[in-house]
Amino acid sequence: MKFSEEFETRFAEMVPHYPTKRSALVPTLLYAQDEIGFLSDEVIAEIASRLDLTELEVRNVISYYSMLTTKPRGKFNVQVCTNISCMVRGGEEILHHCANKLGIGHKQTTADDLFTLEEVECIGACSWAPAAQVNYDFHENLTPEKMDRILDEYRKKGTQ
């Protein structure tokens, strides 16, 4: 199992920050997922052995955290918040708009593997609602038109 050098540096730096190895687990999983796209059986086995855990323990943890996934996603994960602050300002409309535009529903991925759509809980953008995150980028004060432009830009980026 090969990770990038960046991952390895980060991992090597992080582990000694804690008195127990497994403490590095959650951020390590997220970094690994960022790199591989999802937490494959191979990634799980590798991280388990690095942190002296069983694969079961790693899976127990993965399945708890909503950002971690064992299933592949599209290149861009479009996460639309529909929680209260966003909802009262049209978050659901944004979600439906994305669903219509991308032709996919919650946790589904477009045929070209570019986009995955996800309805998410509050992402901490309440005062700038409605908001969405594409991968880690925040997009705020959204309108359907603004969302269209954003998705188009990602599509351009993704197909270049």
């Binding site: 955290y65 529909t82 909802m87 809980e121 901490g124 005062s127 995150q133």
Partner: protein, 440 residues
């Protein structure tokens, strides 16, 4: 990057350096940076604790517990290392303030962590930031690196002969992990299941060592208290509610945003003056005063002061500072449903009342909102919520039950309007079928 707003009534303490490039260490130093740590290094631990106690700084994470008091619970002697843990999991719906602190003033959090460490005798601290806040993690990681490079962290900080290490830690999506004991579990690489208390974290916390856990805003306030003095800070707010607060105004407002206002600022003013009032000619229907866990206030109940004690007296809670405003086009049933979907999705599942209660409330509200409600459902929902209250393993169960009870009590009529096959009167026709239902 989140945009900043301002209002003349603001009293800028925590937000003093917002928008001034203080994430850059040199700039931070120009703006009084790290002077508080320097000052604290010359103080006795008890003096620091007393200063914070006297400032009547209360936890900004939600429960409003006196920060100084919490620090004083940490035993002086401990066989195991002590720790400081900054709670930057910020996930309470309606809350988006820690985000601004991390973005605009990351070093103030580090300073707060170091000072807390000096006060309780800890030599390392962890700054836990929720996984979604990747760009803030990057900012914080850089700030920590920069501070190490200058000798503000690590061995012999500021040449004082004292050591202090600060580390970043990241989450991966889980509201419950914001609960202090679940936070420690998560930091230890486990599922975010809360711990049995007692023992409290101040006695047995991270890896078994005594641990001070504070919200990012709480910690970011500390350097200002050390520099400005307890008196000054305490007097910014009413008695026992020292200082200012970052209020996150959101919802149906003309000028939503994060405003730093003195504790005890009037809610009505906050909505109509600071927040610019309700736009589109709409009227105010309800306000959720302190994040989604707090019972709503009706339009008649908003002439109150926004401090912990006053809001409690009004039957709600100041909570995390998330003020969510609803205009009269909003359906309370739908709002209750969305709130419950959140708790159902975020319940860790450990204890029966929360795991099952949130699920049944969500299911019932979903049917109810879609027009399938029965009269007995209203009582059932109230019964369910009341039976969760105070009986769950951690406060998440209460956080789900309290607003529900509030919605039903205060807007019973609106629930009744959904009865007997009448779908939500607020929805455009045909919309309900498409209502998203969060899959697990």
């Amino acid at each position: 990057m989140a945009s900043l707003v301002s209002h003349p009534d603001e009293v800028k303490v925590v937000s003093r350096r917002f928008g001034q490039g203080a994430a850059n260490l040199d700039r931070y130093l120009e703006l009084d940076g790290y002077n508080a740590v320097r000052k604290a290094l010359a103080m006795e631990p008890d003096a620091i604790i007393n200063e914070v106690k006297n400032s009547s700084l209360r936890g900004r994470g939600g429960a409003g517990f006196s920060a100084g008091m919490k620090w004083s619970f940490v035993p002086k002697q401990s066989a195991k290392p002590k720790y400081v843990l900054c709670n930057g999991d910020e996930s309470e719906p309606g809350t988006c303030k820690d985000r601004l602190i991390f973005e605009h003033d990351p070093h103030s959090v580090i300073e707060g962590v170091v000072i807390a460490g000096l006060a309780v005798g800890a030599t390392s601290g962890y700054i836990y930031i929720r996984g979604e806040y990747r760009y803030l993690s990057i900012i914080m990681q850089k700030a920590i690196r920069d501070a190490y490079a200058r000798g503000f962290l690590g061995k012999n900080i500021f040449g004082s002969g004292r050591n202090f290490d600060a580390y970043w830690h990241g989450g991966a999506g889980a509201y419950e992990v914001g609960e202090e004991s679940a936070l420690m579990e998560s930091l230890e690489g486990k599922r975010g299941i809360p711990r049995i208390r007692p023992p409290f974290p101040a006695v047995v916390g991270l890896w078994g060592g005594p641990t001070v856990i504070n919200n990012a805003e709480t910690l970011a306030s500390v350097p200002h208290i050390i520099l400005g003095g307890a008196d000054w800070y305490a007097k910014l707010g009413p008695p026992k509610n020292g200082g200012t607060r970052l209020f996150c105004l959101s919802g149906n407002l003309a000028k939503p945003g994060v405003y730093e206002l003195p504790m005890g600022y009037n809610l009505k003013k906050m909505i109509y003056e600071v927040g610019g009032g309700i736009p589109n000619g709409r009227k105010l229907k309800a306000v959720v005063p302190g994040g989604s866990s707090t019972p709503c206030l009706t339009a008649d109940e908003i002439d109150i002061n926004m401090d912990f004690d006053s809001v409690a007296k009004a039957g709600s809670m100041l909570g995390s500072g998330g003020v969510v405003v609803l205009d009269d086009a909003q359906c309370i049933v739908k709002f209750a449903l969305r709130t419950m979907k959140f708790y159902q999705h975020e319940s860790c599942g450990w204890c029966i009342p929360c795991r099952e209660g949130t699920d049944w409330l969500k299911k019932t509200l979903t049917r109810f909102h879609a027009g399938g409600g029965l009269k007995k459902d209203i009582d059932n929902m109230q019964y369910l919520a009341e039976n969760m209250l105070g009986r769950t393993f951690c406060p998440l169960g209460d956080a789900a039950a309290m607003p529900t009870i509030g919605f039903i009590n205060k807007f019973r009529k609106e629930f009744e309007d959904h009865l007997e096959g009448r779908p939500c009167p607020y929805e455009k026709e045909g919309v309900i079928d498409h209502l998203p239902v969060l899959a697990h």
